[in-house]
Amino acid sequence: MAKQHVNTTINGDPVEFLCEPDQTVLDVLRDVLGLTGSKEGCGTGDCGACSVIVDGRLSCGCLMLGAEAEGREITTVEGIAEGDKLHPVQQRILEEGALQCAFCTPGFVVAAKALIDQNPDPTETEARYWLAGNLCRCTGYDKIIRAVMNAAADVRGEAA
């Protein structure tokens, strides 16, 4: 089968690419477009390391075919910071030391931003359940949750 020709928007920029029919959005991001920030941890949608935001909705890049990106708006971890200004989620993760190997970090950054966009004042339980689709094996989640709660407060404009 011939390659698929796709037009999409990634991190605000128009992008045109060719991909195999069975390549996922994750494959395309990493192997076709060179955006290796999104990671493959499992390929089956169970770990969240490939988290991206598609038309405003948190999704696993590994569960979506590259061809399905046609006409959509995709945000990856590379598009979370604004220029040289880190998003509060990114800044708080750094300040709290909420990262160790940092392989899951891109997924958490994207997922946490999606959370705060949808729910600007999450409780700890809401944050934990929203982020239950992002596996971390290093941190035990404690500092990540604290960072996300503090980041939500930052976005609301409050002192944490």
Binding site: G41, G97, Q100, F103, R128
Partner: protein
Amino acid sequence: MTYEDGKLKVVGTRPIRPDGVDKVTGRANFGADHSMPGMLWGRILRSPHAHARITGIDVSKAEALPGVKAVVTGADMAESSGSADAGESAINLRDLSRNVLAHDKVLYDGHAIAAIAATSDKIAREALKLIDVGYEVLPHVMDVDEAMKPDAPLLHDDMFTEGIEPTPETSSNIAKKMVIGFGDVDDGFAKADVIIERTLKTAPVHQGYIEPHACVATISEDGQAVVWCSSQGQFVIRDLCSQLLGMEAADVRVIPAEIGGGFGGKTTVYLEPVALMLSQKSSRPVKMTMTRGEVFRATGPTSASSMDVKIGATRDGRITAASAEFRFQAGAFPGSPVGAACMASFAPYDLENVSITGYDVVTNGPKVAAYRAPGAPQGAYAVETVVDELAEALNMDPVDFRALNGAREGTKAPYGATFKVVGNLECLEATKDHPHYKSNLGPDQGRGVASGFWFNIGGQSAATVAINPDGTVSVVEGNPDIGGSRASMAMMAAEVFGVAVEKVRPMIADTASIAHNDVTGGSRVTFATGMAVVQASEDAVEQLKKRAAKMWDVEVEDVVWQDGAAHTATKDAPLTLADIAAQAGRTGGPITGNASINARGAGPAFTTHICDVEVDRETGAVEILRYTAIQDAGKAIHPSFVEGQMQGGVAQGVGWALNEEYIYSTDGNMENPGFLDYRMPVASDLPMIDTVVIEVPNPSHPFGVRGVGEAPIVPPLAAVANAVYDAVGVRMTELPISPPRLLAAIDAYKAAAE
């Protein structure tokens, strides 16, 4: 210890790690993030059988597929022999080469048999289907106790149990028997008023790192190779690859990618030698990654265990004797961590009579690999469960019982050596005093405590320091940064120089750029590599003082180094790093410091954990309500990262206790090789994990550091199991305590009570 608490300016603070911004923006490059021009994609064909003889491999159809550039099998691998020193322990090269690519037999579901390199991943995977392998399926054995029986299916004809005199004449699956201990346990048990004896079991569990193995390898026509891979030690990868493939170490340059978790599982090779062989055959770079399924099926989990523990005590609470037999499953090739289990499990106790027997047993599962304090969590689960029962039988508080019998300075450890200054009693005291321990519990809620120990190791590290012309400092070291060690190295160097930590930039070198460094593992990096960085920095400070003396025309004895500058009595103005560095050329050349050590005096870590659970009697689900981990870290260089290590180890231990296990079909195939059914803790499974960092300094390290990374995984298995007992009165002696199992146990307990 040279640097006094109270005067420290950088060590003990919490700066943002120097590699942090790259890590939160997706810029940092992990094993699979690298590409080389002209790169091929490699894939591995794996055995569908748990145990079979390979009767033939026909690769002709695969080779003929357009796009396929190379095919390799075990036959292409030189017959390796002897042992390699992988920095931490001797590794049997013959076993390793057979694990990387099977020779005459496949020994587990997922065992690698052949590999393809092709112009696309798609073609590589298609080509795998075209390889014809003939199998003579053999009976298999998965369970360690079954594998020890005389009529068990045999994995290796040439395995005769080591450690038995005389050496047995018939081969078996028991690779080794060992015994450690001292005193007279029979006499000790005779003196006991209460004896508790239990058998406990654990299942194989995987380290569960989120990043699958990945590498890109290339060999030039003249035999010089470059391997880009994520690992816990680029030097081990280099040495194992060069020895397995008959290459010289200097011809293999291994560049460390960022590593997405290891926990011991990435201290060995799987893909790297295969990628090199494919690259050699195709004359092109080859990229290989594992799928999650391959990671589970074919990379080392840790051993399943079957353990008998017996402890006796007098009525006033003093342990009189302790004995254990640990039977550990090694997977397809020998090398379970049963030795460490034997040595570590009773270490928190001051004993007069102790005897521990260990068996290393092969089974038809993947060859086990190190997993965070290898062997100790299993052994501690068994011992700490029995200790809990003993304390209850004696009507003593479990923490008081542990403190009464607690190891301390002067205690003889089970392996015979005498402990120097250690923090076990301090941890127990902090446990007793902690608000968590004094808080109340409700119905179906329970509390468990458990102690743990890990040796921590020192080992070889080399570091260099260069003073840049503007006075900033570059630190070059050789340990992959798995949890923030770059930050700790920069902080220790900054403390020595007396400058802000942002003026010190650490860098992790490849195997061609720095001398050998032992792995990032064994809780050694902050201790040993930290020591090397400190010594290299101190060496540089000596050079700086000499240059200052030259610039001032004074004696070097009259120069002191303080707050980032040289001072001398006869001059008002100091000479800063920048001042001296600017004149480096004139005063003798570039200013560097070096250190190359085999770090001695690693300080062991003791730890105590408190776990509260609530049991749902309808479903058997266990909720962790509250968890506190108390551990002696010697000195926390960067407290956030020390706390992080403790929290991460706890989470892994909780998963091990409650949900994680390898589930096998009757055919010996792994049924849950994915994150959906190999159920690791997620954010909604855990509460905040409180940590108390005790600091009983290790005098051998300039800042008092003890390794922290491994000890945290040791107590949680028993802490959780003891809490479940406290909640519902059911003693779970098999892990995991998954809902169906706990429910069955609760029902049985109810039925027995009626």
